[in-house]
């Protein structure tokens, strides 16, 4: 079974993946004077920009919560997603030197990119409590219900990263398109505005299809429910998104395995 094999491989190559991402982080934070501050400052910048340009101009429905807190909660997982996408899609291309000289499971480069993005996400969440407190909001125990959601977002990132990184080996110019697509995807996901705004425009079956095709919508909304409103995730939507993500992941891994033997040839 494709996914079982995938999980086994992911487990076996964890050490190398962690070492690679450790190297990545070390190198990055060694070079940048402000180090961790960059990962920390980026989400705050987004919150500021969203508040000024979206919330001020078109009043966004936040159901009684301050907009910066509302936005920040969804920026945390979205930042991870965007980061993982840009980092992992080029994971194989960027490691050509290693790829051509050292034999190791090729998936490792993708996994290490995701591990790096997870670390960055944790750092980016550091300022969240400060923002919450400064607006007089509360923390909720529902935060712990995000654990399955984190697994889902890692699986989504892994699926896209495996697919894109292997395709990119053969058609390298596609990477120039990626930042644009990621930006557009953000507006198709409840990051700037809430999921309710999207839901009211779609009929029930179409909305289910939307949640299946864009599982990041469920992830972002679950973060918001837990961190801002203290609610558990919508389990039925989480179910739909998880099922579709499993399919995407199986497909992406199949594509990756099909293309993998040729990586070193076109390196």
């Amino acid at each position: 079974m494709n996914l079982v094999e995938f999980a086994r491989l992911a487990w076996r190559s964890r050490l190398l993946a962690f070492t690679l991402s450790e190297r990545e982080l070390r190198v990055r934070y060694k070079q940048a004077l402000l180090g961790m501050a960059w990962a920390f400052a980026a989400p705050l910048g987004y919150v500021l920009v969203f508040t000024v340009f979206f919330d001020r101009t078109a009043k966004i429905e936040t159901f009684g919560r301050p907009y910066p807190v509302f936005a920040y909660a969804a920026i945390i997982p979205w930042g991870f997603f965007a980061q993982a996408l840009s980092r992992c899609s080029t994971a194989i291309v960027d490691n050509l030197v290693l790829l051509n000289k050292v034999s190791c499971p090729r998936e490792t480069f993708v996994f290490s990119g995701i591990a790096t993005a997870v670390v960055d996400m944790l750092v980016s969440a550091v300022a969240f409590p400060i923002v919450v407190l400064s607006f007089g909001e509360h923390f909720y125990a529902a935060t712990f219900l995000l654990i399955p959601v984190i697994l889902l977002q890692v699986a989504i990132a892994a699926a896209l990263a495996l697919f894109l990184s292997s395709i990119l080996m053969y058609v390298r110019d596609v990477r120039h398109l990626l930042p644009l697509v990621t930006q557009l995807l953000m507006f198709a996901t409840p990051v700037v505005w809430g999921q309710a705004a999207i839901r009211q425009r779609l009929s029930e079956p179409v909305f289910d299809l939307y949640v299946a095709l864009n599982p990041m919508a469920t992830v972002c909304e679950s973060y918001r429910r837990a961190l801002v409103y203290g609610q558990a995730p919508d389990w039925s939507l989480l179910g739909i998104s998880s099922a579709s993500t499993a399919l995407f992941l199986a497909f992406a891994y199949w594509v990756f395995k099909r293309l993998e033997p040729g990586f070193a040839d076109v390196a």
Partner: protein, 393 residues
Amino acid sequence: MSPKGYVRAEQIWKRFRADRNRQLLRDEVSRLRQRRKGTAAERWRWAIRDVSFEVQPGESLALIGSNGSGKSTMLKILAGIMFPTYGALTAEGRIGALIEVRAGIHPDLTGRENVFMFGSLLGLKRADVRKRFDDIVEFAELSDAVDRQVKYYSSGMGMRLGFAVAAFLEPDIMVVDEVLAVGDAAFQQRCLDRMREVMAQGTTLLYVSHDLATVEAMCKNTLWLDQGVVRGHGATHDVLGQYRRSVEVHSIAQHPSTTDVDLHIVASSGTDGGAVRSQGPLVLNLVVRSAHTRQVRVVLGFSEGSPAPIFIAQHEQTLRPGDNRSTCRVEQLPLPAGEYAVYATVLDDTGATLRNWSPIGHFEVHGLVLPPTPTGVVRLSSVVVDTSWHEDH
């Protein structure tokens, strides 16, 4: 299940796209369009054609051949970096591949961080690396530099670090591609010693090098690849002999014969026209043809086929127009039994080359057999010397 360290290649074929140089969407689309129209002229280049061999655990196999013969491709397939187009490869156990030692080394990390990094790239646990850390640092002669960033290392230090990590993680199969060329002589010898040690522990060695002397020192068997095809396979000494002769033939074919000075061997013989024997005399009858009268220096080189001679002989003479006959006599030929090539060049009195260094013929020597060198010891030149031993009581 075969024992660890066992390697078998069965009818390996590998091809590359000959027309591939860019990976852009545009190119892929135009290729798809051509394929649909049926005008797809997909050009393939076979880098490896039907190569089969087998290496037992603890044995060693060298891959030799000229540039572009497919050695490195074959090694990458063995190391699991590339996949064969057709054929099956069996390699049991952990493979430590040294395709390029500095590849796994990151310039922004310190030597210490790199040791752990490289170790886990090669599939080692952190604890295993820690256990060997001191050995690695000692072998690489890094001492204090180990906590410095690698970008401030000299190239020799980086290379030593890479080799030390790979050589101390005790792989079941060690794949080494021409990596020793960068080190100084002392370090090269220590690398060879280390390789011999790991082989003694049962590690299988697959070795690629242009340095035939180290091939002879390290490997029992040799596979000679020529444009992706096996030209010779067997005991190292025999295959190297064939290979050297082919190098000689190749350089004869390349030599242009349009200069106004040329020379060739009329006859070669031992004593009184008999066979040439080790430690006996060698007589070469030469003819030097010249267009003008000039003062020249003729230099002869005696080699095993490659342009690097074992020893040389030279003679100054005045050439007259036409054929100039001369005889070169070596009193005690220090060569063991085998086939040898004679290379020659002619220089004028200013030192300018009148005839390029290329073979002018070859001769066979009978008699003494060269004693084999111990594994890991590189013989610089294959000469036999008359020795006598006395045991003092």
